[in-house]
Amino acid sequence: MSGRLLTTKAIRGVLTIWLIVTFTFIALNMSGDPIEALVGDQASPAVIAHYRQKFGLDRPLWEQYISYLGNIIRGDFGLSLSDQKPAIELVAAALPYTLRLGLVSFIGGLIVGLIFGIVAALNRNSSLDRFIMGFAVLGFSLPNFFLGILLILLFALHWRVLPSAGADSAWHIILPAITLGTHFAGIFARFVRSTMLEVLNKQYMIAARAKGAPHFRRVFWHALPNAAIPIITIVGLKLGDLVAGSIIVETVFGWPGVGRLLVGAITSRDFAVVQAILIMVAVTMVLTNFAVDFIYTLIDPRMRTAPQGGR
């Protein structure tokens, strides 16, 4: 990646995060009086004034905005309105659970999707191909909240073999991980298949076959690296789906991660926690886009000299 392109992307990333921070500030100020939500409308004016001062709500708006930006940069997202702890602490406590569930389901989905996609492409139009593609359509059409409920009904309530809620043992991750991972397995299988089919028809594949390269080597040495660029792109794009999916799946399975924390915070209008999560996800997504661009240049030499990459 050229220096100029890198700088443009970096500026865009910072701008994105700044816009989101500003948006949360505006939303915070337009959403009504948080103090009233905290102490109720029966509280005495003295109590309200006390809390206004405590949360800095008595100062002019621009001053609040500047100090708000400063706080965000320092990683201070304010106190959770419900239990007076710093919002960032609550998020930090929930984050390992979300990462564990997310990694297991995403990597699991990716592996299953890769295997299924490659097998389907190599056996194009066979009954195996049709079976795998049928599974893929099923996988990404099943809404995760519905799949989760079906799994709970079958494995936790009917056969009673797996726990349905909580995160106490290693067994607890199985059902949420299957729920979250099935969607990705379906999407990746379909995408890997079509990408592989495209690559398998290229002339260099005929050349590799003509020079006598064995089947296995042709697939993994000639075809797969060339299919990698679009596959990595879609993997990067689907990380957003992972965030959205974990909000639902964590709620369905009572998994104590960031997603469930977010839903709880919205229900109780605890905006400090909401904004901490929002900004954290924004930073993560911007960094991920960066990483995906960087990985391109690692695996595809053509990208290093290309004048304009990305979108």
Binding site: R12, L15, T16, L19, I20, F23, T24, A27, L28, M30, S31, R124, N125, M133, V137, L138, F140, S141, L142, P143, F145, F146, I149, L150, I152, L153, L157, R190, R193, S194, T195, L197, E198, G240, D241, V243, A244, I247, I248, T251, V252, L262, V263, A265, I266, T267, R269, F271, V274, Q275, I277, L278, V281, A282, M285, V286, N289, R311
Partner: protein
Amino acid sequence: MSSALLWRKKTIGHPVKAEKRYPIIVVLTMAFLLAIFVVFCLADVIAPYDYRTQSLRQRLMPPVFLGGTNAHLLGTDELGRDILSRLLYAIRFSILVALGGTTIGALIGTILGFLAAHFRGFVEELIMMLADVQASLPFMLIALALIAAFGGSFVLFILIMGFYGWEVFARLTRGVVISAKEQGYATAMIALGAPPLYVYTRHILPNILSVLVVQFTLNFPQVILLETSLSFLGLGIRPPLTSLGQMLGAGRAYLTTAWWIAVLPGMVIFLTTMSISILGDWIRDQLDPTLRGTGS
């Protein structure tokens, strides 16, 4: 490679059997989507009961295929409301929200795309940057943040759904309008002195409409999923209104005693999104025979 495989490879390009024009699965999905559309139009006519009518004497009755009565074909829920009627109305509400949301998103995006293509320069940069910002965050999160800030009234919820996907329409419109402006018919109209708005609405818009319609059908099922997800979390459509996601979410509490309350609306959501997806694939394959069978 064995001779059998070689033979199969040869037949790929030249199918021996004549291709069926309407595969059975496509006919089924069309029939299902047609039924959904009829329910959307006629929910109040078909439904045997009002979706709000409670009857505490007849709570949690099973569907007729699990030993229920003909009075409530799909059973009743925890307040004794007829599930079939609720399901029909839920389909209507879910489709209504998805239609409203997708339309608003398409309008906002198309207008912004036209503005970007017309003014270029700073306006274009600004609109495209906003599109990038929206695309860089999962929309579910943006929607949740908006709901957290502004609460969850029905009108506001449809507006929030309308924010979904505008950036795709904006990018698409900007691209096709810029290239359309270079084409003879548009430059001719501009040279003849037609005002820009006239050229855009009467000449360029009809030419790019097909692209926008395709994007509309792609966005539509995603908005259905978004609505059902948020309603499932209890943050979208709220009682006394109902939607497929709201029914499913409310039915979660009764999984042990009355699983059909949650499973029936779930099946409808699943079959709808799957039907749209299968039908969309099939239509695209028909329009572009070079892609046939690649499923790309």
